[in-house]
Amino acid sequence: MFGHKKDRVESPPIVGGVCSLLEIPHGHKFRIAEINGGAGLHRRLLALGFHRGDLVALDGEALLGGPVLVKNLNSDTRIALGRSIARKILVEPADEHER
């Protein structure tokens, strides 16, 4: 029940427009700037087609601190990411007309 709020405090502060996937509004275009965390996570995301520089948008989230749904606009795929993982993915705002 309380995990949700803690997530918000732990996530890094917004610097220069870069923030984590947990802090962006739904449906807007963002660009993956950095993937923090270990090589295991990094490889997994690469294999699933999520690279640095890809355009992504938040497509939904589950209740009670559940996972977020991230859409990759380049490859038209969607993955569900647990919050602990979504927090490690940093994004920066992208122009709405970018491809």
């Binding site: 090589a39 990094h42 690469l46 699933l48 969607r78």
Partner: protein
């Protein structure tokens, strides 16, 4: 042409329709669904095409050739260990761009290869116009368009396979950018003479560079300090080129190659939102989605009850009349008793299969194929976290409602062994279709639908409580969820029917004969009064602890084979027909017995698969856990009835 049977492997990313294509070619052999990781072990089949035999292997879906998930390692041992004669790379055409990354990787093997653009219908609906000729030129391998669900393109595929095998044409790898390619070349020259080369030196060098941070790395290099130094230098150089880890640089190279090919060969017009996509936003809605999840399951059981229960009563009538007729005419001698046993065995089977088993299998098949399982995992993840697991276990539990055995096999998709063991220990507590059938048949038929629903709820509560206990015993926080949500797909009725037929065949082939034989045996034993001995031994448990008629003891023997048999044998053991059951035992006794049997020792096939997948210890723990919980919960049910 030599006589050796050529080996053809099907490789593709999860959910690209590999297994469906495989089934279209090989006849029905592999289980398919719209959930990543269904094919956890590979399926083999021998196929005859134009008087020539081919051995076809359906490998689990893999996102890349760098093994990360357990089922992906199966793929590697296959293509590295036993060199296949031909690779069929199956691509979900609607996800062409991402799928091409694996294709680029596969081309690096330089094995004979065919690319299959599957799900062309879906791609067209998404507004994608793919030029297969351009794609063929870019990749340097034949490209075949298929719609596997309708069997389109399979003939062309086999023709091409035949041609390529005859000509032995091998593709060339695609070139990375010059500076990276130069570094790879440098490493190739450094490869020691005794280095285990996979496929070709370039592929081996790329693997070695990418193996960074993987366990394989150490094993390779401990005996080769000189090469290790060189490899580290090459990695650093590549890493410095793009200011990223070397493995990411190589992945990015492939990504760009794939992107370039995609842009050259595919034009995307703006597609309209399909009705399925609109449905999807409802399914994935945080509140409405959960509501829908509840509604789907409630509706499923309601439908089965409304359709199944009257149908069952109708189906049982003639068998019941037959049994009474036999008893009336021939009295109590051995042949008559055996005949009655036979009638009960056959009739019992008919009454389960048609009204309950088939509808349940059809509905499960529909949910699986449309792509609902992964979505249920997404919606339920938060709840599962409170029970110490994560959303990836949800689809496994849902599969368990169909049959526990494939659900336990599919636990391979869980990354951590701890999650695997806990999930596998919990799955036998999920009532499978056969057990659900009996619960619905008995409890709903005799006591009413609310009792059946209540029983189901009790069952889920037990699973939840057990899960929180187990996750506290095996302490360790499970890794976060990463789960691809495949797009919703209209399931092909043919596919669902095939799957239902497959499961039904299993039931008719294995369970029904056991049911009939058991029924006959029980008639025979009771004629010889042997059942009294078994009953006497089990009396302390059955009568003493649970307050049931001691004649039910013998039915538990059959529960070792399949749990639901215990319940079916109940009539035989008590010597009554279906409708008269409540005249011999009361509601409390019925529920106590159903509870006990439901949580009783995992059925033989579940036990066997637990043993095989997770070892003897886990299987034994499962037996102890199930038995003790069966005694405890059914005793509590008895107590609850005594108190209220």
């Amino acid at each position: 042409m030599n006589d050796r049977v050529p080996v053809i492997v099907f490789i593709g990313q999860p959910n690209c329709g590999k297994s469906t294509l495989f089934n279209a070619i090989a006849g029905f052999k592999a289980q398919t669904s719209n959930f990543p990781g269904t094919t956890v072990c590979h399926a083999h089949s021998q196929v005859v095409w134009k008087n020539r035999v081919y051995s076809i292997v359906d490998l689990p879906g893999t996102y890349s050739l760098t093994p990360q998930e357990p089922q992906e390692k199966v793929v590697l041992t296959h293509i590295f260990g036993e060199k296949p004669d031909l690779i069929v790379n199956v691509i979900d055409a609607s996800l062409l761009c991402r799928s091409l990354e694996l294709t680029v990787e596969l081309l690096e093997l330089e094995y004979p290869m065919v690319v299959v653009l599957n799900m062309m219908d879906l791609a067209e609906k998404k507004g994608m116009k793919i030029d297969p000729v351009a794609l063929e030129n870019k990749l340097g391998v034949p490209v075949i368009k298929t719609v596997a669900t309708r069997g389109q393109g399979t003939k062309e595929l086999m023709d091409r396979v035949e041609k390529i095998l005859a000509e032995q044409t091998t593709p060339r790898h695609l070139r990375y950018s010059g500076e990276v390619e130069g570094r790879i070349k440098k490493l190739i020259e450094m490869l020691p003479a005794d280095f285990p080369v996979i496929a070709n030196p370039r592929f081996t060098a790329i693997r070695a560079i990418e193996a960074e941070t993987l366990a394989v790395d150490k094993f390779f290099l401990e005996n080769n300090p000189e090469f290790k130094k060189g490899l580290d230098r090459v990695r650093q150089e590549i890493s410095a080129l793009r200011e990223a880890p070397a493995y990411e640089v190589l992945a990015a190279e492939r990504h760009h190659l794939a992107l370039k090919i995609f842009e050259d060969c595919c034009r995307v017009r703006h597609a309209r939102l399909s009705s399925l996509e609109k449905l999807d936003s409802l399914i994935m809605h945080p509140v409405l989605g959960l509501f829908l999840l509840l509604l789907i399951f409630a509706g499923m059981f309601y439908l089965i009850f409304r359709v199944g229960s009257p149908l069952e009563a109708w189906l049982l009538k003639p068998w019941e009349a037959l049994r009474l007729g036999i008893q009336e005419r021939y009295g109590h001698n051995l042949p008559a008793e055996l005949l009655v046993g036979l009638v009960q065995g056959v009739g019992g089977g008919v009454a389960i299969v048609f009204p309950y088993f088939i509808p349940l299998l059809l509905l499960m098949g529909f949910l699986e194929d449309i792509g609902y399982l992964a979505r249920a995992g997404f919606l339920m993840d938060a709840f599962m976290h409170r029970l110490g697991l994560h959303g990836k276990s949800v689809p496994l539990f849902i599969l368990g409602f169909g049959c526990n055995v494939p659900a336990i096999m599919a636990t391979r998709i869980l990354e951590s062994r701890r999650d695997r063991i806990i999930t596998a220990l919990l799955i036998p507590f999920i009532p499978c279709a056969a057990r659900t059938t009996i619960i619905l048949a008995l409890v709903a038929f005799l006591l009413g639908p609310w009792w059946a629903l209540g029983f189901y709820f009790l069952n889920l509560v037990v699973v939840a409580v057990l899960s929180s206990i187990l996750t506290r015993v095996f302490k360790y926080s499970s890794p976060g969820l990463i789960l691809e949500i495949p797009s919703l797909k209209w399931p092909s009725p043919k596919n669902i029917l095939q799957k239902t037929y497959f499961n039904l065949k299993e039931f008719v082939r294995f369970a029904w004969p056991i049911l009939i034989a058991g029924s006959l045996l029980l008639s025979f034993l009771s004629f010889l009064h042997f059942d009294r001995l078994v009953n006497a031994v089990l009396t302390p448990l059955v009568s003493g602890l649970l307050g049931l008629p001691s004649s039910l003891g013998v039915t538990l023997l059959f529960g070792f084979l399949r749990k639901e048999l215990s319940l079916l044998m109940m009539f035989q053991a008590l010597g009554v027909s279906y409708g008269q059951l409540l005249s011999v035992i009361n509601r409390a006794q019925l529920l106590t017995f159903v509870t006990f049997v439901n949580f009783f020792i995992p059925c033989l096939s579940t036990l066997a698969i637990l043993w095989k997948e997770l070892g003897r210890r886990v299987a034994l723990i499962s037996v102890v856990l199930n038995l003790s919980l069966a005694v405890l919960v059914s005793w509590l049910v008895r107590l609850a009835f005594a108190l209220f």
